[in-house]
């Protein structure tokens, strides 16, 4: 950000500050506006959290990191050590010992510190309660995707977003495609009717696989599950929710909202037969099962390895969502089909009104932080909460349709589903994990 950019944001600050006061916003929101320092706390110190923090600090020189939180103490300490060794950022690392938080309630502690902005990058299961705590405490938020793993979580995100709007707080989410200039320009044209009425579409995230993490010394079973979170539906939301949400979000973007109806098939074949993962699962089993391998399957997780879903949007268009992990052909893109043309959902339109984006390409993962911080400084905050809750719920809806084999509509999912997979906060303490069996394809619809 240049100096003149910062100057431009100043006049807005005054007007915005007035509005913020009227909306009952708390004092540090006002602090974050204008050109002053923005104090940042990071919640979730894994790979994505460390990446997001750097991308955030890069977005604005006025950002200082003042607090870190994670389930594990070691993660918090090593993250601070690494930051202090990083020449690019170390001058803006101001983390006191009493601003290192760990444990299952670390999100509550970091929400109470004097940070203006919290970056959230823990396992998705906890996001909704973290977001609620942060918004209640008056923090701006950057949150990684997805924002929930069950229907109850999505509803809580929607509530928190509403509250954020009332309080004038920003919520930006790590679906970075929404911040790429090429896609933003393209979507304007699609929404302007350049490819006609949307009648079909496809989106894909079919990859080769994911890590499996064994249990470290001293970890309880629950802590190990949180460490190896990808493999449990209650923690990650399954691959369709955790990864494929990016592409699903693009589909929803095209249609300007979520689908009306869900149908899906899917299953788990490969994950149950990979030798490396089986051996790791057996090792973890021995650790928690007095050296016995009996019942090792539950340590192999319960997420599926493929889901093939159909979204029917409100105008009747039926779109494909194709996701999973295994050897085979890999695909990671989108396509949208209209009555007058098609688009790659990236930078091109084909058909009656051909177009190709020739502007500047930016890295969406940087740009989302630039847009967020700019919006905070201007006082005209971005709030992507409702939208990312809807896209997360879209992915969860497809997963539920696949797990149960049942077709249902959006309004049932949003209003009537009782799905609630994440243990209550008071149940989150070191001890046995939350194990559910692998979905059968005809699980009960709740």
């Amino acid at each position: 950000m240049t100096a003149s950019d910062k100057d431009k944001s100043k006049p807005k600050k005054i007007a915005a500050a007035g509005a913020a006061v009227l909306a009952g916003s708390v004092s540090h929101v006002v602090h974050a506006q204008g050109s002053g320092k923005i104090k940042v706390g990071l919640l979730g110190c894994g790979g994505r959290g460390n990446g997001a923090l750097r991308q955030n600090m890069q977005a604005d020189p006025g950002i200082e990191v003042i607090a870190l939180a994670d389930l594990f103490e070691s993660q918090v300490r090593s993250t601070r050590d690494r930051l202090l060794r990083d020449d690019k950022f170390k001058d803006r690392v101001k983390i006191d010992d009493d601003h290192l938080f760990w444990g299952f309630d670390c999100h509550e502690k970091i929400a109470q510190c004097e940070a203006d902005l919290l970056l959230m990058a823990t396992a998705p299961a906890f996001r909704s309660r973290q977001l609620m705590a942060a918004i209640k405490a008056g923090k701006h938020v950057f949150t990684e995707k997805p924002v929930a793993t069950d229907v109850a979580g999505c509803r809580q995100i929607m509530e928190a977003s509403k509250l954020a709007k009332e309080k004038g707080l920003a919520i930006v989410c790590g679906t970075q495609r929404r911040h790429e200039f090429n896609r933003v320009e393209l979507m304007k044209r699609i929404h302007d009717g350049q490819i006609g009425e949307l009648v079909g579409g496809q989106c894909y995230w079919y990859g080769s696989g994911i890590w499996y993490r064994g249990a470290r010394e001293g970890m309880s079973e629950l802590e190990w599950q949180c460490h190896n979170w990808y493999h449990f539906t209650w923690l990650s939301g399954d691959q369709i929710c955790e990864q494929h949400i990016h592409n699903i979000d693009v589909m929803n973007w095209c249609f300007n909202g979520p689908p009306a109806k869900f149908t899906a098939v899917g299953g788990r074949a490969w994950r149950s037969y990979i030798d490396s993962q089986i051996n790791s699962a057996k090792e973890v089993c021995r650790k928690y099962n007095n050296g016995s391998e009996e019942g090792w399957e539950k340590y192999n997780g319960n997420i599926w390895d493929h889901i093939f879903a159909e979204f029917e949007y409100p105008n009747g268009a039926r779109c494909l969502s194709f996701s999973g992990h295994s050897p085979g052909t890999q695909r990671y893109d989108e396509k949208i089909v209209g009555t007058k043309g098609t688009s790659d959902c990236n930078s091109s339109i084909f058909g009656e009104n051909p177009w190709k984006f020739d502007g500047e390409h930016v890295n969406g993962m940087d740009q989302e932080h630039i847009d967020l911080v700019k919006s905070i400084r201007s006082g005209n905050v971005l709030n992507e909460g409702q939208r990312i809750a809807e896209s997360t719920l879209t992915a969860i809806g497809a997963r539920i349709a696949a797990y149960t084999g049942r077709t249902f509509n959006w309004s049932w999912l949003l209003n009537a589903s009782k799905q609630d997979l994440v243990p209550k906060q008071e149940e989150m303490k070191p001890g046995p994990g939350t194990f559910r069996g692998i979905a059968t394809g005809c699980d009960q619809l709740v």
């Binding site: 098939v265 085979g328 695909r331 098609t342 394809g441 005809c442």
Partner: protein, 429 residues
């Protein structure tokens, strides 16, 4: 509005000397000549199970002058129902894996119904055409590319011999489909840009293994659940819907990418087939379509097709919405009977229908979907037809007492697609 080009041409040919000349030149054989006009259609039924019996009744009900004169089945007990009903004499009822040869050897039989498990179809079809019989064959017509090639080749031979070949994809004979397709082909919905088809249902019958049954006897009695016999349920059932989409496009997909698995139906009685598939077919101009099929109890049913064009959409069976809205309001005769009416009419008129190539192609698409799901590889149809060496055809000397261990169900990364060279076939449309 309705194009009657084909029909008109056929009517013209019928009355012209040219048609007779053509037939003579291609050397139409004796049974065809006998079957012409009001001559009796003498049917041999090969495969007397549920579908064979159903087809036999439909054939009898379709036209006058039809007689059931010979029966064949691998098992004596499966043959009893039709034998009693149609009073077929003992010396015309044949049992065993080679029973079909004995029916085909009967000179008076001029139409055979092939309704054994699909894995046997290619060789039985070839033998039937060799023996100069007209053929009604149930779908699907093969379970592997080797079988598909055989069907296509033999269909060509049938054409040369003037023999009729009709397949049990009855939607092709159902007026509401036929009338809708005419309009789609005439452009009522514009260019097709998207399509979907489904066969999502609960469970089918299963025959658990009995004591003292050989591998082969059990597998044939429980044929739905073995890929070499049924082609898996995407092939065995969903071929109907895939065929409709091919019909709408008047074309075949160029590429396929599928997913699938065995999530609910995991017991040994279910052999080695999957219980769900989700397949994407890529038609020319990168038009991508959804094919979804499932056999899992308690799930939502949906057996249907849908095509979407630049000017509207259609359910393929009586409704067009969009710029040219239309509803079919004509009669709805039983299509399982109509397919036999059309077949017998075509034999008697001397202009035999030949659906062999077409049903081979639709079966091929279903097999491609299956193999893509088994391997999770995307590939081209041309690769599959020309380079894939998958051959599940039963050996000529197969015996009921043979042992044949059930191959493991497909697991991506472990399942090998025969003829696949890694990295050779990936191409985006």
């Amino acid at each position: 509005m309705v194009k009657k080009q084909k029909l008109t041409r056929r009517e013209l040919l019928k009355s012209s000397a040219l048609a007779a000349g053509t037939l003579a030149l291609t050397g139409a054989v004796v049974p065809l000549a006998e079957a012409r006009g009001s001559d009796t259609i003498r049917v041999g039924v090969i495969g007397c199970g549920g579908r064979g019996s159903g087809a036999t009744h439909d054939c009898m009900n379709s036209s006058k002058g039809v007689e059931i004169v010979a029966l064949a089945d691998a098992f004596g007990d499966r043959l009893q129902g039709l034998k009693k009903e149609f009073k077929v004499p003992n010396n015309r009822c044949f049992v065993g894996l080679d029973a079909y040869k004995k029916v085909l050897a009967l000179d008076d039989v001029n139409l055979v119904i092939l309704a054994t498990p699909p894995g046997f179809r290619p060789k039985q079809f070839a033998a039937a055409i060799d023996s100069g019989k007209n053929v009604f064959m149930e779908k699907p017509v093969a379970t592997c590319p080797a079988g598909i090639k055989m069907i296509i080749e033999v269909s060509q031979k049938a054409k040369e011999k003037g023999l009729a070949v009709v397949a049990g994809t009855q939607r092709r004979h159902e007026p509401k489909y036929v009338e809708t397709m005419k309009r789609i082909h005439d452009g009522a919905i514009g260019d097709i840009v998207s399509a979907q088809c489904y066969w999502n249902m609960g469970e089918l019958w299963v025959n658990r293994r009995q004591p003292n049954q050989s591998d082969i006897e059990w597998q044939i009695r429980n044929w739905l659940y073995f890929t070499w016999l049924s082609g898996d349920h995407i092939c065995e059932q969903h071929v109907h819907n895939i065929d409709v989409i091919n019909w709408a496009f008047n074309n075949l997909p160029e590429q396929v990418h599928g997913l699938g698995g065995r999530q609910y139906r995991t017991g040994p009685e279910y052999g080695n087939i999957f219980d769900h598939f989700g397949v994407e077919f890529f038609y020319p101009n990168d038009v991508r379509t959804i094919s979804m099929c499932r056999q899992i109890k308690g799930t939502t049913d949906n057996v249907s097709e849908r095509v979407v064009g630049t000017k509207g959409s259609s359910d393929c069976c009586g409704a067009i919405d969009g710029e040219n809205p239309w509803r079919y309001e004509g009669p709805n005769p039983n299509p399982y009977v109509v397919e036999h009416t059309d077949l017998i009419k075509s034999i008697r008129s001397g202009e035999p229908l030949n659906e062999g190539q077409r049903i081979a192609e639709s079966t091929l698409c279903a097999i491609m979907g299956r193999e893509s799901a088994y391997s999770r590889q995307q590939f081209n149809r041309s690769w599959f037809m020309n380079r894939c060496t998958l051959d599940l055809l039963p050996p000529d000397d197969l015996k009921l007492s043979d042992s044949k261990p059930v191959p493991p169900f497909a697991i991506p990364g472990k399942y090998e697609l025969p003829g696949l060279v890694q990295g050779a076939r990936r191409r985006r449309g």
